[in-house]
């Protein structure tokens, strides 16, 4: 266990150092077991079409603290795995976002477009299956990868799914942003395996074009937005960096290459990411208004160094999830030692950790599954006691990633 840090306060003004907050594993276990075994509150209805993402946060949350195998029963795992497989569409080409669109026995070729597999659904089901110990043997690998390639557009971007109204869209009305390239890169990484491991030739995505799209989303301040010209946003910036990492295009090789690779300005983007770490908003400040959209009053100058979390954009408040989006991106860039880890730790454990377990979005907010999962994974990146080692690109326990890597079917087929 890490030592209690000594304060810099000189002897004559010595105040007793406050006890260092710790990650309360017991409370977090209770939180995740409640989320897994009882109904999620009605407020989660807005996530109904992405219920598999909620499933991921809950299973992953318990998995990264190392208690999924100990505290849930094998029959529960079997039932949960079966439920995830019911989200695989009958054609085998990917997973739907949840059962809400399932047309079951009324499904026909004419209406299947309203029950589409989606990129988020596919990624979250695959990674959750792995976390539960499944070997993905019931996944239609080739079908899913073929479907994946059909989602890519000429500019390199990806559609979230086939929307059913492609015939009514124009190229400029299509939604595009780095999130879907990230998800596509993750699904490809999980399923494609080694060269020669597939049972037949399957068209790959156009990696060069995907990289060009990611690079084009760099904004004037070197963060990345949803598209060229859009405002820098830490969520999109994570997706750009993690997608490049999963496509093996993040770090340029030592010798020059002829394909697109890397961030356009890695040192400048590093600066932008590190500037996300900010002192908490002073809610006692006379100019602070709780529900105002006007920028919060800035911290005093020089700013305090305690409880500095991360924000997603300049002049926005800090928020638990950005601790992961930013630190995860920095970890992939091999630069996370440049953040003030202790200050971020204080922010998460003293400000946004909730008394009933889990993490809220901001101090005082009730916990929710997204912020609880991402807050935990962020602490895992810094090897917090009570949390297993994690993988930043997949936002999961390192063990889950290693399970994927060790699967037999991912290895090259040796012909007899």
């Amino acid at each position: 266990m890490a030592d209690v840090p000594t304060t810099s306060t000189s002897a004559e003004t010595a105040v007793p150092p406050k006890p260092r907050a710790t990650f309360n594993k017991e409370r977090n276990i209770k939180y995740w077991l409640r989320c897994l075994r009882t109904l999620l509150p009605t407020e989660y209805t807005s996530n109904d079409l992405n219920r598999t993402s909620l499933a991921f946060f809950c299973v992953n949350g318990l998995s990264v603290i190392g208690e999924l195998g100990n505290l849930t029963k094998p029959e529960e795992h079997t039932q949960w795995i079966n439920w995830l497989y019911t989200c695989q569409v009958p054609s085998g080409a990917g997973f739907r976002g949840g059962p809400a669109t399932d047309l079951s026995d009324r499904l026909t070729p004419e209406n299947e477009i309203w029950d589409p597999p989606t990129l988020p659904g596919t990624f979250f089901c695959l990674i959750t299956l792995l976390a539960l110990g499944d070997d993905l043997s019931r996944v239609n690998r080739e079908g899913t990868l073929e479907w994946l390639a059909t989602l890519q557009r000429p500019d390199g971007s990806f559609a979230e799914m086939r929307s059913g109204i492609e015939d009514l869209e124009k190229d400029h009305t299509l939604t595009r942003d780095p999130r879907f390239i990230y998800l596509a890169a993750a699904v490809r990484w999980l399923l494609r395996g080694e060269e020669g491991s597939l049972s037949r030739d399957v068209k790959d995505i156009d990696v060069d074009q995907a990289v060009r799209y990611l690079q084009s989303a760099e904004a004037h301040d070197y963060g990345f937005g949803s598209r060229p010209g859009a405002e820098s946003h830490a969520g999109h910036t994570f997706c750009v960096i993690a997608a490049l990492s999963l496509l093996d295009r993040l770090h340029p090789p030592k010798t020059p290459v002829s394909y697109p690779v890397g961030l356009p300005h890695p040192e400048k983007t590093l600066h932008w990411l590190l500037v996300r770490q900010q002192a908490p908003t002073n809610v006692e400040h006379p100019d602070f208004k709780q529900n105002s959209h006007i920028s919060p009053p800035p911290p005093s100058f020089p700013p305090p160094t305690t409880c500095n979390g991360f924000n997603g954009r300049d002049n926005k408040r800090t928020d638990t999830c950005y601790s992961f989006w930013v630190v995860g991106a920095l970890d992939l860039l091999k630069k996370m030692h440049l953040v003030d880890a202790e200050s971020n730790r204080e922010y998460l454990l003293e400000n946004t950790a909730h008394i009933i377990g889990g993490f809220g979005k901001v101090a005082g907010a009730p916990p929710d599954v997204l912020h609880s999962c991402l807050g935990t994974v962020c602490l895992g990146i810094f090897r917090e006691e009570g949390i297993n080692r994690v993988d930043s690109a997949l936002c999961t326990a390192l063990q889950t990633k290693e399970r994927a890597e060790s699967l037999e079917w991912r290895k090259k087929k040796v012909t007899a």
Binding site: L40, S46, D48, A100, Q215, Q277, A279, R313
Partner: protein
């Protein structure tokens, strides 16, 4: 018979004669599912009718009511938005925006008004703005649309989805104009820290394809940023903007030296007002070979003016003299083959 035009009308599909011909399709959750949500009973019922209608590929006027009902309860239901748009296009093309038998009528303008009211209720939703985009593109008429986004900015002047929509409007209808510039100036007058407005200003001034930036435009934007910095020297947004304008105009960073020294004289630490000025000065001093001052600027950042990033400022100190921080945006993205 009641018409379908009242959006808040509560409807029980199971007893209403207009839905009697539909056999609802309930959700099958299987045994012990993950992430089960405590649905409101009205949502469960409406969703069962939606699945049945989608299974039948029905695109009639009652779909408009049903989809409004679902969106009211779950605005992030992605297929319902596409289904609604497809239905609207079908009704439009078959001249069926009026149904004499039920007294129902609809129009694209009514649709836009309804979308506007939903947008104000679900500010974080992006499907709403994609739907609006499809309608405005179909109508090929952006009249009043800037005002709609500004109404949203009164609720949240940093709403990412609304700004994305606004940028689409500007590109689709070529609105790189004075009105757009004035809007960013007004929003920044109201909140000089609104980074979304700064970003949009950069997009308006420099984002139009195929235009070179005239000297007077560059000078105007440099002045604009400098005035904002004078109001709040510790605000990162105008500093980033200023540096980006210089790069765009291929103007040396060193031209900012007197301006930055006015905020952060490294030899008089008590007078320092801006960490951003110190950061830029460290680069300028590095470029001009003033190594001692460059180090001093970075050490002041690490020890006093931006200590949360002390590891970073010390990392930067090790990079001094290495030209690791190019000042122009000319770095090639594709490395040429040797």
């Amino acid at each position: 018979m009641a018409s379908y035009d009242s959006e808040e009308e509560e409807l029980d599909y199971s007893t209403d004669p207009r839905w009697a011909d539909v056999t609802p399709l309930p959700q099958d959750d299987g045994e012990n599912p993950l992430a089960q949500i405590a649905y409101a009973p009205e949502y469960t019922l409406a969703m069962s009718y939606l699945r049945a209608i989608m299974a039948a590929n029905e695109h009639s006027s009652r779909v408009i009511h049903l989809t409004s009902d679902i969106i009211r309860m779950n605005a992030a239901h992605y297929t319902v938005w596409g289904y609604r748009f497809k239905t609207l296009m079908f009704l439009d093309r078959s001249n069926s925006f009026e149904d004499k038998s039920t007294g129902w009528s609809w129009s694209w303008r009514e649709e836009l008004e309804w979308v506007g009211s939903i947008a104000k209720r679900y500010e974080k939703n992006y499907q709403i703005w994609h739907h609006r985009q499809l309608i405005i593109d179909h109508l090929d008429d952006a009249t009043g649309e800037r005002a709609v986004t500004e109404g949203m900015f009164e609720l949240d002047s940093k709403n990412y989805h609304v700004w994305t929509y606004r940028q689409w409007l500007v590109q689709r209808f070529n609105l790189f104009d004075e009105e757009e510039l004035a809007t960013t100036a007004r929003l920044l007058e109201e909140d000089v820290r609104n980074n979304s407005a700064w970003n949009h200003r950069y997009f308006i001034v420099f984002g139009k394809p195929g235009t070179d930036s005239a000297t007077e435009v560059l000078e105007r934007e440099i002045e604009f940023a400098k005035e904002a910095i004078l109001k709040a020297p510790q605000n990162p947004s105008p500093w980033s903007y200023l540096k980006a304008v210089l790069r765009k105009g291929k103007i040396e960073l060193t031209t900012l030296k007197p301006f930055c020294e006015g905020f952060s004289p490294v030899l008089s630490p008590d007078e320092i007002k801006s960490s951003h000025a110190l950061d830029i000065l460290s680069e300028i001093y590095d470029q001009t070979g003033d190594a001692a001052k460059a180090e001093k600027a970075l050490e002041l950042l690490a020890s006093k003016f931006d200590p949360v990033r002390k590891n970073y400022w010390r990392y930067r100190r090790r990079l001094l003299g290495s030209q690791a921080l190019p000042t122009t945006s000319g770095t090639p993205i594709v490395q040429a083959a040797a």
